[in-house]
């Protein structure tokens, strides 16, 4: 991968205050996102996985400034110029919206029930003041065709469509401004299995046709594996491992990744019989454990893990594969393939 960097995130943090007591004083913070560092290169699809509450959705929303980050830089380089999304003012943000878009999880909540599909899809163009009404509508029609719907359905309302169709309308809307970078926030997790495949295929085709870069946020590891070139694994507000998709599944470097892979349900009666389960549950994100975040549930944890926080760093001889584990070079962790699948 030698493509140029499109997005670089440095030390991104998003804390939510917790208020308590008689005077509603701020007594602490939920550290939803606690220092993310990564780069995304042009044209790739990066999967951001983790369990609920790990901060993946907050991360996505902080990058596109649906939430204002508490700290950190979000350097976005759609063309020659670089901007810091985290510091943009209103006007700059509006301009940059043309380059960075967002796809929402819930296909029912993300479309305004009182607008026709044509208006929904063409609305971003109207907001940005691009083209005439007629041009905007014809672009909306073309986009609907592109996602496998028909332009003749533009006059209909969202409630007349099924979940999968609605999600495709949402995708068409996010592409109307011809963005370079799209954050997909669990775009298929609300859909049925048979429809999920339709949407995944549409997303893949569009990536090719419009040369898009995706940040694909999801909890379903098989979906993420299917669509991503590289994968970031998040745990308790931090990235614990970054690797090429295939490499991550074959030879994970972080015990949490290993645990996740062991828990994936396999649709094969011979292989899927018994999954090895990670014990315990995720610690309170307002009061994360000392040392390594994961040590409370890690089967390999030592005193070092309990006292000292590991940094996310490349492996010996393989700087592209990063993990935040003190023992990443020593541990022999089992990949998904070890379960006999693939």
């Amino acid at each position: 991968m030698s493509a140029k960097t499109i997005l670089e995130v440095r030390n991104l943090k998003k804390y939510f205050p917790i208020q308590k007591g008689v005077f509603r004083r701020v007594v602490g913070h939920v550290k939803a996102v606690d220092g993310l560092d990564f780069v995304i290169r042009e044209g790739e699809c990066v999967g951001l996985v983790g369990e609920s509450g790990c901060g993946k959705t907050t991360a996505g929303r902080s990058i596109i400034r649906l939430l204002d980050p508490t700290e950190g830089e979000v350097l976005f380089r759609p063309g020659e110029q670089e901007v810091d999304m985290a510091k943009l003012g209103k006007d700059g943000l509006k301009r940059i919206r043309q380059e960075m878009q967002f796809i929402f999880q819930d296909p029912f909540a993300s479309l305004n029930p009182r607008m026709t599909v044509g208006r929904i899809v063409s609305e971003p163009l109207k907001i940005q003041g691009i083209g005439t009404q007629k041009e905007r509508m014809s672009r909306a029609g073309a986009l609907l065709e592109k996602v496998g719907l028909s332009a003749s359905q533009m006059g209909r309302f969202p409630h007349e469509f099924s979940g999968g169709q609605r999600q495709r309308i949402g995708i068409a809307r996010s592409l109307s401004l011809n963005p370079r970078f799209v954050i997909c926030d669990e775009p298929v997790s609300a859909l049925d299995v048979s429809v999920q495949a339709q949407v995944l295929n549409v997303l893949k085709d569009l990536q090719q046709d419009f040369s898009l870069t995706y940040l694909f946020v999801a909890h379903d590891l098989s979906v993420v594996e299917h669509i991503s070139d590289r994968i970031f694994v998040m745990y308790l507000g931090k990235i614990v491992e970054i690797a090429d998709s295939q490499e991550l599944y074959e030879s994970p470097r972080h015990p949490y990744t290993e645990a996740l892979l062991k828990a994936i349900p396999i649709a094969d009666p011979k292989l899927g019989r018994r999954r090895e389960a990670l014990e315990g549950s995720v610690p309170d994100p307002s009061n994360p454990p000392d040392g390594c975040n994961f040590h409370t549930r890690c089967r390999y944890a030592t005193d070092l893990c309990r006292s000292e926080e590991p940094v996310l760093q490349g492996q010996q001889g393989n700087p592209e594969h990063q993990a935040s584990c003190h023992y990443q070079n020593e541990l022999q962790l089992a990949g998904y393939m070890a379960r006999g699948a693939g």
Binding site: I64, L66, K90, L93, K94, R95, R97, Q98, M100, Q101, F102, F104, Q105, D106, A109, S110, L111, N112, P113, R114, E123, P124, I127, Q128, G155, R156, F157, H159, E160, G170, R173, S174, L177
Partner: protein, 367 residues
């Protein structure tokens, strides 16, 4: 696919508004209420046309005439067109009270589109055409007369103008104020929200009626009736708006976090755009429902204030003003029909409540 595919497709090209209307049509009580409201509105708009008498004209000789019965069978038992008997006054020999007796020899058929007193239509031209009446020389007091012999029905019809107008305009005014305050406070949250919410809470800590009484008492007695009328509308709206403000705020708060609003924001929309094109249209049906349910509250409040003499001032009439003649128990006992304006209040409020309830069910079927 199947034979009902056609129907499927037809069913599916409806907007939210049309869907609401379809559901509303199925709500029986709501439809009944709507029909009653339309009839009442028609009568109050065409008040002079529907009033058989001039509502301001006293006829001291006819004071406290009881309601006259409309008959369709004459003394011989034959069915005829509707008519009333003439009335003669007699004095009770024991108590020396005036009593009205039907004179079975004088039959006066009820005539439609008759001519009697003159009125002007929108100040454009004068006419004396009326919906119904009887021939000269007889009287038709369908719900009786008051203490100075004014036709109560005509007074009720004119009173409906004031009562319905106050309800409607007051509700519109309070809805505008309430939606604006609620919307602003919900959308911008933070300090603005704090201030508006505390103010709303403060107002809501006072029971509405005593507060309205106190505020109405502040309207100078020297003002002309029209001034008092406008003052009353303001007082009602000022006390009432908080309720809607709270509801709108809640709606706005929930819509503000909806994905479709966030999606619009990621397309670069500013707050104004989001409010105008996304939040208001989605709140609108809710606001209309609350508006419909506010009207009966205001009619009720107006009638209570006027009943106590703190609202509309004579010679202007409203249902509450008419009822204020019924405060003396002895008078009511002797002339119970003077309570009839209350029945009109009841029916109107009931109809509006039915309508509002139907609208709410139709607009928000899952709540």
């Amino acid at each position: 696919m199947s034979s009902n595919g056609q129907e499927e497709r037809q069913k599916k090209s409806l907007s939210q508004g049309q869907l609401i209307w379809r559901r509303f049509k199925r709500h029986k009580l709501g439809m009944i209420g709507t029909v009653v409201v339309i009839i009442l509105a028609t009568i109050s708009i065409g008040a002079p046309f529907f009033s058989p008498y001039d509502y301001t004209e006293p006829d001291f000789g006819q004071a406290y005439t009881p309601p006259q019965r409309v008959r369709i069978r004459d003394a011989e038992g034959n069915f005829t067109r509707p008519f009333v008997y003439g009335l003669t006054q007699e004095y009770d020999e024991v108590t020396w009270e005036r009593v009205y007796v039907e004179d079975k020899d004088e039959k006066y058929p009820i005539r439609f589109f008759t001519r009697s007193w003159e009125y002007s239509v929108l100040g454009l031209f004068d006419t004396d055409l009326h919906f119904f009446g009887v021939d000269e020389g007889a009287t038709i007091y369908l719900v009786g007369t008051d203490h100075i012999g004014r036709d109560l029905l005509s007074r009720i019809i004119y009173g409906s103008r004031v009562s319905l107008f106050i309800g409607g305009v007051g509700a519109l005014f309070s809805a505008t104020l309430g939606s604006f305050m609620g919307g602003v406070s919900g959308y911008f949250s933070g300090k603005v929200d704090m201030v508006v919410q505390r103010f709303v809470e403060l107002l809501q800590l006072f029971p509405q009626l005593p507060l309205m009484m106190a505020l109405s008492a502040a309207i100078p007695t020297t003002w002309p009736p029209l001034g008092v009328f406008i003052g009353v509308v303001f007082v009602l709206a000022l006390v009432q708006w908080t309720w809607l403000a709270r509801e709108v705020r809640g709606k706005v708060l929930s819509y503000r976090e909806e994905d479709f609003v966030l999606a619009t924001k990621t397309a670069g929309a500013n707050d104004l755009y989001v409010i105008v094109f996304h939040i208001i249209p989605n709140c609108l049906s809710h606001i209309i429902v609350v508006l419909t349910l506010t009207i009966p509250n205001l009619i009720l409040a107006e009638s209570a204030l006027s009943f106590l003499g703190l609202g509309i001032q004579p010679p202007m009439v409203s249902w509450g003003v008419l009822l204020s003649n019924a405060t003396n128990l002895q008078t009511v006992g002797e002339n119970p029909w003077i309570m009839l304006p209350g029945v009109f209040i009841l029916v109107t409020i009931l109809a509006l409540n039915f309508m509002g309830d139907g609208l709410r069910d139709a607009a928000d079927p899952y709540s």
